[in-house]
Symmetry: C2
Subunit: 252 residues, 2 copies
Amino acid sequence: MANRVTVSMAQHRKPPSKVNCFACQHRIESDWSVLTDDEVSLLDRSKTCRKYLPGEYIFHEGDPCRGIYCVASGLVGIRKTDADGNSVLLPRLASAGDTLGYRPFLAGECHRGSSEIMEPSVICFIRGSAVKELLGHNPILGLQFLARAAKDLGQAEEHYFQSVTFSVRARLAHLLLVLKDRYGEVADDGTLSIELPLSRKDVAALIGARPESTSRAIRQLKEDGVAYFSGQTVHISAVENLVGELGADDHI
Amino acid sequence: MANRVTVSMAQHRKPPSKVNCFACQHRIESDWSVLTDDEVSLLDRSKTCRKYLPGEYIFHEGDPCRGIYCVASGLVGIRKTDADGNSVLLPRLASAGDTLGYRPFLAGECHRGSSEIMEPSVICFIRGSAVKELLGHNPILGLQFLARAAKDLGQAEEHYFQSVTFSVRARLAHLLLVLKDRYGEVADDGTLSIELPLSRKDVAALIGARPESTSRAIRQLKEDGVAYFSGQTVHISAVENLVGELGADDHI
DNA sequence: CGGGGGTTTGAGTCCGTTCAAAATACGTGG
DNA sequence: CCACGTATTTTGAACGGACTCAAACCCCCG
């Protein structure tokens, strides 16, 4: 039902740039769910919200980290660029309810990547002092963050492992499997279709490959009947095939 | 003073497999430094210690995570293996004072890699219930772990980035730069030499490459006068050269 | 009906892998 | 101390995947 309300609101007007933490439905299933009313109130008072459009940046590599960001709606990625201009998107997209920049904040470091808006988004910034106060006040919040960090660390190590052992094609298949949970829809005939929130270039950056290589991998998957790309949407007849791309390649 | 006692003990006999947390000199510069005496006492009572020899495993991929491990001495690596038998060492070696397996424990997951002993080691196992109790009792410990996890996450993402953008040669150079802090020694003439605690195969697994490729990269570095390998020791005349391998390749 | 960016395709090259063989190091027993 | 067998490391040649550069294509928008 809450879903329905949101949808109808979206039809009337864009999400307001000033978000109310109490009303924020994402909060209750985020790390912030453990806060008391008083603490939520502090959180609410300590934040500033802003709308962003695709291509904009929230912060840049090397910027000092003065607090953390909370995605109220939209989608944002972390981009890292090396000296030669090679650019990579870290395989950790943040959407509504996700916290952004908590890693450098907690490690006491500068931002190590630039956060780039991929879809129109509303982002809340929470002052570092408030985060510190909340962490000191409510130990459970720290444990929430800890579990989150531990999960993200596992993901990151998994991605490292895959980048070293998987081909571009397998990494693409894996990306589709991840995106299907968030952007996939099952049609009446049971086939799965995913509406990618990303351009080809960004898909490439996400799997750590050039756009050309990604394009070829896309064609291969099409030729082998695994996934059919047309524009931003992907059609998949059997998810098992995608999974098969990861494990044992094709051994009898 | 506690320092002096430990050192003189080490001169007489091998480190005892039963380690005393109070006397452990690594504790004071680890996450556990924030514990009170009572808490250290609990820690001490809740642990079991064991000696391990190279090639042994502390735990295996898929094992349930029943607690965390503390490296009293030695060196251990985390190995991940895929369906085809490809094996990779995560670029996160644990030596004396480091905590092992805290990630799956805090994320509530099974072990995602096997921890393999690289040097003769003494490892303490701390019961999960005790860790939970300590975390609930002393919020600062949670924040310590949080900062640790945040740092490790940064490292992991950096390694992902490098695996995608760097060549084998550059990754090897980077590994040397990391190992020099722990295993490097500066000779009288100012040159640096590193005694690698790893076989070639393990060096290869650490940078995510085949031994053959690693061997060729080693030869290249030798031919270009950057680093001279002979057996397990590496001689480096100018560290700047190593650093140069990372950034802008050779642009004038 | 043109631009113009993003995407795809093609050809050539480079890097890293694979497979196989030689060389070196290492431990053990004579 | 040397000889021998094994395991590790290095080398070589051939292959393959991914990258580079360049051109063609497509789609969206003016």
